[in-house]
Amino acid sequence: MKKLFALLLTLAMVLSLAACGGKKEEAPAQSGGESEVIKEVNLWATGSDNVREIFETLTEKFNASQDTYEVKLNFMLSGTGTQTMVDMIVAAQKAGQTNTDYDLVDFSGDDWSKIIALVGEEAFHKIDASEIPNAASVEAKCAVSPEYSQPYRGTTVILAYNADKVDNVPTTYEELKTWIKEHPGRFAYNTPGTGGAGDSFVRTSVYNFIDDEAAMTSADAKWAEQWDEGFALLEELHPYMYQSGGSIVYPNKNQGTLDLLAQGEIDMCPNWADMVLSQRAAGSIPDSIKITTIQPSFTGSVQSLSIPTIGSNPEGAKAFIDYMLSEEAQSLLVTQMAAIPLVDTANMDMTGYEDLQTLDVSNFRILSIGDLSTTFNERWDNEIATLG
């Protein structure tokens, strides 16, 4: 008798396990009538925790400011999910789903290029400036399919330096190279693959040697053959990098180099404008840390919102996009995450973030080499990291 009971128990457990695995989120069928306005707008976003915080604030304020729509934030912390947001939307699209809750999606420049390559721009609603009054003053555009996405903030890698130590701030890559060689051990960039700032430094160092503009946005393996000159330069700079314990060190993560800069162990490093400025405003790095841009510049991109055609509430989505370009929302983006605003800042309080006004979004250099980045990082790890 007990044996039978035990068997049933195990069976029940196995089944419950299986049930857990099989239960998938069902796309809520939005069943509003034809003329009825659908209240709920589902916003999908991914990124670090500061992105979650800003979106929580913005959706809350938007929901409180009007009664027609209610934006619900669906946030995925980057690096924790097995599926990326791009994968999820591509999967839903290819499975032929309609009326899903992918009403509005937040994409980085890289992800936007990726999804357009995978499903094409017809998977998104065209964004008509006439429907979004606040977009009229925004000049920034996405690099690909600009009519199908609405940029709302910019982000870029800059050169961060300690103004107490650096007198002649480099303005070009050539000058930076000279500065590095004249000040051994005072410059660092983070290991490529552990943070976008290091990625941007090494990639622009290599791609500055390639004349063809097309290389910057191509994942074609043929460009890898033209990397040699750039890698030779990185090798040439290697002995002048930051040292610890008697050997050259490239710290992991953007924060790794920023910590060295804040502690005074180095005087200069490439980093994200928003990381430097928000940490400076918070007081965790000293005021002597300044930012500057060089020519040819490091890379940057615009973050944008898009409306998938498989979503159910394009009208609500547009209303939220319009709000994101309002002065209130843009000010919050500046003060909470040091994002580069895309609207006129004349009436905004930019105290502590004046540097942002010097960054021109329309001149951002986009570098998106897709799967080639894996080959690139592996070559760096094998050729540069091992120089010792």
Binding site: S244, G245, T374
Partner: protein, 281 residues
């Protein structure tokens, strides 16, 4: 059904949930990983290349030797310090000893990430020690960051309390009567130690060593935040293969290699346990 059989069935039912979970989330992934490690990423056929890569590429070989060095150094220092600490706690009866006995486990309760950052702020070239030295006109740069010495120091923070806990338990099991007996027949302190205490606690030392060794072979947080670019600990080399280069077959092969390294230590552990059983009978 006899009473005996019913009891057995009930026993199996109790074990079954844990058994199934282990099969599902441990055994099955191991089988697929081993399979993957012998797979050619291009053709899908059988190959030894994924393994050959780690034993022929000079950088990867350095990674393996570096990891061995860090692990053995950690084990050696951690066990010696932990043993001395355990001896002190077992045989010295004073308020100070009691206080240390209560305090030495605290590092186990500090989240590892917090501990690593705390260590970094102290030992880095611009850290606490450097700043104190500046007050006295010296500019002490330890150079421990991004260096094996920093990682070993961090490992000691995690492993000494753990090893001391195991060895203290072992020493606690040695009855006072044995030691008093040895002293009564005229043995010196050193003789008592070498012929009584050491042999009786030897098993705990071996067990503690194997655990310390295994927990360091695959460590990630410490080498990721404190290690240099090359050579790397295997945990980081694995992360590179899997997350950066997306070479899943090589990642599987390296996992198997790390598993084999650990299993040598596991074999020592099992052997010691079995020997103990013989001795008891």
């Amino acid at each position: 059904m006899s009473k005996e059989k019913k009891r057995m069935a009930f026993g199996y039912a109790l074990v079954m949930p844990a058994f199934l979970v282990v099969m599902l989330v441990v055994a099955w992934p191991i089988v697929t990983a081993v399979q993957k490690s012998f797979t050619d990423p291009e053709t899908g056929g059988f190959t030894f290349d994924n393994y050959l890569y780690f034993f022929t590429d000079p950088n990867q070989l350095k990674n393996i030797f570096f990891t061995m060095f860090v692990c053995f150094a950690t084990v050696a220092i951690a066990i010696v310090v932990a043993y001395l600490l355990a001896l002190y706690l077992r045989f010295v009866k004073s308020p100070v000893a009691r206080l240390i006995g209560n305090l030495y486990l605290i590092p186990r309760f500090v989240p590892s990430l917090v501990a690593v950052y705390a260590m970094i702020t102290i030992i880095r070239d611009s850290g606490l020690i450097n700043r104190i030295s500046l007050l006295f006109g010296a500019d002490v740069k330890l150079g421990m960051m991004y260096h094996a010495s920093g990682m070993i120091t961090m490992n000691l923070w995690f492993n000494i309390p753990f090893a001391a806990l195991m060895i203290t338990a072992g020493l606690g099991a040695i009855p006072d009567s044995i030691i008093e007996g040895a002293r009564d027949v005229g043995a010196t302190k050193w003789k008592t130690f070498t012929s009584m205490i050491l042999p009786l606690s030897y098993k705990d030392v071996v067990v503690a060593s194997t655990f310390v060794f295994m927990s360091n072979v695959g460590s990630f947080t410490t080498p990721y935040l404190m290690g240099g670019n090359a050579p790397k600990m295997l945990g980081i080399a694995l992360f590179d293969q899997f997350n950066k280069y997306l070479r899943y077959e090589r990642a599987a092969a390296l996992s198997v290699i790390m598993f084999l390294i650990c299993s040598v230590s596991a074999a020592v552990y099992i052997y010691t346990n079995l020997k103990e059983k013989d001795w008891e009978h």
